[in-house]
Amino acid sequence: MTLVFFSYLIAKNPEWFDKLAAELSDYTDVDTLQSSELEKLPLLNAVIRETLRLYPPAASPVFSRVVPEDGVSLGGYFIPAGVSSLYFKLHVSSSS
């Protein structure tokens, strides 16, 4: 999924394709690439960092659910429709 979002971001920001291509211009053979070499390329790594920041693959700590149409009120809080929400072990809450 990170590659999908990377490809999307680069398609939306073609100037970054040019920057990456220029940074990689010293390399000609895909088959001999070394990750330890690529680790030294600032633009490549900055793009990967920014992609992971914008789209963290494991965005939330537990499985989330989407609030249905009309939203919902829980414990005095209104949660709007469409919001991705989390809940924690309500069934062992000592206050209910």
Binding site: V4, I48, R53, L54, A59
Partner: protein, 156 residues
């Protein structure tokens, strides 16, 4: 009382106080203020995100929680190697750890893609690609539309 604490990487990574204009793609952005400054020079705002050392990057990953942190950390996360253990004195937690699978794979794939291809987006509904690509979170973040159609061409 054993209190459990949790956090969402999404919330941290999109906090406008840490990352101004959090929804914008800005690879050259400055790193967020790190807390507490385990690496003091990162407090220097002139340090650009582009020029992070491996230690600095590790700290950034720790703080952003993208790979989580602690015993259940993602094995794909980048670690700095710990000091080597004296021979014959192996101790739990002191082995030299370099787990960098996810980032190594990403670097190789990203470099190979850029070296071999150019590409453009082919949205289902032209002009509405951004809506199609709004991320949706169930276990692994993915586009709301469930797809991202791209047209690749071999580079000359």
């Amino acid at each position: 009382m054993q209190v459990k604490v949790s956090r969402a990487a999404w919330t941290i990574c999109h906090d406008p106080e840490l990352y101004p204009n959090p929804e914008s793609f800005v690879p050259e952005r400055s790193p967020p203020p790190l807390l507490p400054p385990r690496i003091p020079k990162l407090a220097d705002p002139r340090t650009r995100w582009l020029n992070l050392s491996r230690d600095e990057e590790t700290q950034l990953w720790d703080q952003s929680m993208i790979f989580s942190y602690g015993p259940r950390v993602c094995l794909g996360k980048e670690y700095s190697p710990l000091p080597p253990t004296p021979p014959g004195r192996w101790k739990r937690g002191s082995a030299e750890l370099i787990f960098r699978m996810a980032l190594m794979e990403l670097r190789m794939l990203v470099a190979a893609l850029v070296m071999k291809y150019t590409w453009t987006g082919v949205p289902d509904k032209p002009g509405r690609w951004d809506q199609e690509m709004v991320p949706f979170d169930t276990t692994v973040l993915h586009p709301t539309s469930g797809r991202c159609v791209l047209k690749f061409a071999l580079r000359k």
